[in-house]
């Protein structure tokens, strides 16, 4: 496949692995921020081929994982309304709320649909004027511009039967929260390439300076991830702490200006609760006042729903890199992808699910030797 096979070349990968082995002299703990990177690392077996001295900590960048339980409960309450067509990206359907998931709502007669773009939900609203169409607007800066565009278009077209349950989160405040934590172990970040393709990477420059932490904008294919790791280790070994762009084919320093413009028009920054982490100031997007009529939480009066997490679930510590998924006492026992306690076990991109699916209990060294 053109533009992908080039970044999966085994010979070039080997050269990068060799170089990383050659430059690494001591233990380093790197955090890959994005769930897509975690997925690529585990799926390609990159972690097994890196020097033992390099520890990869899987970051909080999986939108499915950090969406708070109560937001999922709100989604379930809305989706159960008889007059609602509830639209979501596919992998949110299996995320359990405190009682059930969207699949169960669907089996009980709820009209729950997978869409591939929020604009498809706008189209549904136009085609079904007697129904309320609700889109589950979650994700990071990557999915936010399209969601903003959907709300913007709904307003322009006067589609009062469209609304969005918004739970958008932002990466830079989460990185700051991790660095400011007294238990922090992270020494460098692989920044999420696709988030930076929208927002650019200038926002990370003050963070790198304040916390003296290298931040390397990194893509998702194996060679992208390896190049990100190589550049990060080079900085750490040299005592540098800069923002570097190892994903220039998709990312520019200033980001995607039209996308940022629509974001500013529709959303404003405010406090947001992260599953497993808690409230982080200025870490989320909310609909601006002039778009409030598209806020599904207000429209369906579910704003007051509050939910407690399972006490067995340690996904918060996993998301902060304090423990590995398989160090959680519930991992593979009370908590499996079939019966997930926390969202990190649900999504393909979730660190726990990735460990369970691809690494599980078996030492891969014993398999390949």
């Amino acid at each position: 496949m053109k533009y992908l096979d080039e970044f999966r070349d085994p010979d070039l990968a080997k050269r990068l692995f060799d170089e990383i082995h050659a430059i690494t002299t001591r233990h380093w703990a790197l955090m890959e921020v994005c769930g897509g990177q975690t997925h690529s690392i585990i799926r390609n077996g990159i972690d097994k081929l890196l020097p033992d001295k390099i520890e990869l900590i899987h970051g909080p960048g999986c939108p499915v994982c950090v969406t708070p339980l109560e937001v999922i409960d709100k989604a379930l309450a809305i989706a159960a309304h008889p007059n609602v067509i509830f639209c979501s990206f596919g992998d949110m359907l299996r995320v359990p709320g405190s009682g059930q998931d969207l699949f169960s709502i669907k089996s009980q007669g709820g009209d729950v649909r997978i869409v591939y773009s929020p604009l498809d939900a706008v189209k549904l609203a136009r085609e079904n004027p007697s129904k309320e169409v609700v889109f589950f607007g979650i994700g990071f800066e990557t999915t936010a511009p399209a969601n903003a565009m959907a709300v913007f278009q709904a307003k322009q077209q006067g589609l009062m039967n469209f609304s969005m349950l918004v739970s958008h989160v932002l990466v830079p405040p989460a990185i700051e929260a991790i660095m400011a934590s007294p238990t922090n172990r992270v020494q460098a970040f692989l920044a999420a390439g696709h988030v930076c393709s929208v927002m650019g990477y200038w926002e990370y420059e003050p963070i790198a300076e304040r916390y003296h932490v290298p931040i390397v904008v990194t893509g998702f294919e194996p060679l992208d991830v390896l190049e990100g790791i190589r550049r990060t280790v080079m900085q750490l070994e040299a005592g540098r702490a800069e923002v570097e762009n190892a994903y220039p084919r998709a990312v520019q320093r200033q980001g995607n200006i039209p996308a940022q413009t629509i974001l500013k028009q529709v959303f404003e920054v405010g406090e947001r609760k992260w599953r497993g982490i808690g409230n982080i100031p200025n870490s989320g997007w909310h609909l601006r006042g002039e778009f409030r009529q598209f806020d599904a939480a207000a429209k369906f009066a579910v704003e007051d729903i509050q939910t407690q997490e399972s006490p067995l679930c340690h996904s918060g510590e996993v998301l902060q890199g304090l423990i590995k998924p398989n160090q959680c006492p519930a991992f593979g026992k009370e908590c499996t992808p079939r019966k997930p306690l926390g969202a990190t076990m649900v999504s393909n991109e979730g660190a726990c699910a990735a460990y369970y699916q691809y690494g599980r209990f078996v030492s891969l060294e014993s398999i390949t030797s």
Binding site: P10, N44, I46, F89, D91, Y116, Y358
Partner: protein, 352 residues
């Protein structure tokens, strides 16, 4: 002229069989049912055994071991690039029989029709079933039709059951995989699942992805002619190659190690999977098989497969090992390894 009737618009009352859609009466056992059988099913499935129209059909089979299989088909939409529910209904059961090494002989067909289904759609499906049966060399010898009220079905559901005979000396079963055996796939993977996905979800790609639905019994016969010492055969339908190989690993208590780079994938399927965040190894096939064969017979079997139109892209993709019993492990494109587990439910498109 009789007052009150406008003859310019008047037509003769339609013969019953000319209803354009299925009505409840088509399942009532009366004249409508009889006409459906006579005019729609019989011409498509024509054979002497079916024409007896008894409550059961009497068949004679050779004195060999018999293989029986049944499968139900609920695919939506009914028609998709490369085939329709009728092809799947015939080939699905034929292939299940073929995977035990059986020579499929007879099929039964049960239809559940939703009131309102257009008779022309039903006619096309049934016609395709007749053609598919002919292509597979089987006879549809008995059947049943029921009609459910509108809203109680998805247009058309089909169940087929099949009967086949297993040649002497052929012993094919999932638990027969042995360490050292090689794993062969008959061609590109993931075509059917992505063909259905692209029409069901209205996804438009530059290239139309076509289902691979096809009868595998002739391919299996050619393979068995090359070597009747084939240990395992599976057609990787729902859950794809990953699920079938996991099942074989568990049944045989052996490990299976495959090389991801050797999996044949149609470029359009690979691209569609990338776009949707899916993995072709989990995507359904309807005209492909996995074979596990002793290493010394692998070349002969592979050669026989490549001579057959349905096996031209056959490839060795891995091996059975003593290590990691019950697990499927893949060597990744860049030389790493990963465990390929079964999916929990269906594969869901990822958010980003």
């Amino acid at each position: 002229m009789t007052v009150g009737v406008d003859f310019s618009e008047w037509v003769c009352p339609l013969p019953l069989r000319d209803y354009p859609n299925v009505i409840m009466g088509h399942g009532g056992g009366g004249k409508l049912s009889a006409e459906l059988i006579e005019h729609l099913f019989m011409p498509a499935f024509q054979n002497n055994l079916l024409e007896t129209l008894g409550d059961s059909t009497i068949v004679t089979v050779p004195q060999q071991r018999l293989a029986l299989s049944t499968d139900s088909f609920v695919v939506h939409p009914l028609f998709f690039p490369g085939g329709c529910i009728g092809d799947l209904a015939v080939y699905g059961t034929v292939n299940d029989l073929a995977m035990s090494g059986a020579r499929p002989l007879y099929l039964t067909a049960g239809f559940i029709l939703e009131e309102g289904l257009s008779l022309s759609a039903l006619g096309s499906v049934v016609e395709r079933m007749g053609a598919a049966a002919q292509a597979a060399g089987v006879q549809i010898v008995t059947g049943d039709t029921k009609v459910v009220e509108k809203g109680h079905g998805d247009g058309l559901y089909i169940n087929t059951s099949g009967l086949g005979v297993i040649p002497d000396g052929v012993h094919i079963a999932p638990q027969n995989a042995q360490a050292g055996d090689v794993v062969i796939v008959s061609g590109t993977i993931g075509d059917h699942g992505m063909a259905i996905m692209s029409v069901r979800e209205g996804l438009e790609f530059d290239t139309v992805i076509r289902s691979d639905t096809a009868p595998l019994n002739h391919l299996v016969a050619a393979m068995l002619a090359a070597s009747n010492d084939i240990h395992v055969l599976r057609d990787p339908t729902r859950g794809g190659v990953a699920s079938s190989l996991n099942e074989i690993a568990r049944s045989s208590r052996k490990g299976i190690l495959i090389d991801e780079r050797k999996l044949p994938v149609n470029p359009a399927v690979a691209s569609a999977c990338e776009v949707l965040g899916m993995d072709p190894i989990y995507v359904a096939n309807e005209g492909k098989l996995l074979a596990i064969v002793a290493r010394q017979n692998a070349e002969a079997v592979l050669e026989a497969m490549r001579q057959h139109p349905l096996g031209q892209q056959a490839a060795i993709i891995g091996e059975v090992v003593e290590q990691h019993p019950g697990l499927l492990v893949a060597r990744t494109g860049i030389g790493g390894t990963r465990i390929v587990d079964m999916q929990i439910g269906e594969q869901l498109p990822r958010i980003c």
